[in-house]
Symmetry: C2
Subunit: 150 residues, 2 copies
């Protein structure tokens, strides 16, 4: 998604296409969630949106995130600990979830799509999304732990 104009347009189209009304709150939440390269939590989005819409409620943020998932603009993923994170990257990809610093690093591997397609076909499963998380310690935290042990 290259610029804000295109982004607005896609959001409006997706919402209206499923019969959802477009409100300033919904647009702001969607824009922020989709434009970000990070894996945000509902609260992070909420605190950001509150700067421009001080009366916005967390319930509206959650509701909007649900719509974004339904119209296929966003993926939600639950974390081993702590709250759900939202990811605008809809392509199948690997996420490296660090247990120590809670960071998520996206990674691409050409075989991910292949594995998912084959398994879904074999199991006659109609896939609407996928999660490939590798859980452990990121490089930075690993090095930090090593240093502290010395």
């Amino acid at each position: 998604m290259s610029n804000i104009q295109d982004l607005n347009f896609s959001i409006i189209k997706a919402f209206r296409g499923k019969g959802y009304k477009v409100t300033p709150q919904r647009l702001a939440i969607s824009r922020f969630a989709l434009f970000s390269r990070d894996h945000l939590t509902a609260k992070m989005i909420y605190s950001q949106i509150k700067k421009t819409y001080p009366t916005v409620s967390l319930a509206t943020v959650y509701a909007t995130l649900h719509i974004l998932k339904e119209v296929g603009l966003l993926q939600g993923r639950c974390m081993p600990t702590s709250e759900a994170r939202f990811d605008p990257d809809m392509q199948p990809h690997v996420q490296l979830v660090c247990l120590q610093c809670d960071s998520i690093i996206d990674w691409r591997h050409p075989l991910v799509s292949k594995v998912i397609a084959e398994v879904a076909a074999d199991a006659k499963f109609s896939a609407s999304g996928q999660v490939l998380d590798i859980i452990g310690l990121c490089n930075r935290c690993k090095e930090k732990t090593n240093l502290e042990e010395k």
Copy 2:
């Protein structure tokens, strides 16, 4: 894990190996969680164990599940909706998560381990677990939906 004797032995060995005491409650919870082929929730385990230990508490179930994860006998995974599920299958495998009936079907694919190993190596990530979920509609729910629409 072929029989109850072996299972008991493995559990005791794993607990003591990390300095955890073995109590009847812990053994019962572990046996039930590990022997099951299903992906149970903490509550499911709790209701089962209460039949033999009516005073057992949910907190103990959670604590034991944490230990089982730590000693590497169990994987925990969070669900898109509802509570966490626990899986005694520690081999990398695909899970087909049905959004309608909440069932989880395990599936094996030879490339899963390869993808995970390669990505972890490339990203210098030290992996301790993985989740490969395909989210959507299982075959049964898909057919049911089709019938209802006619």
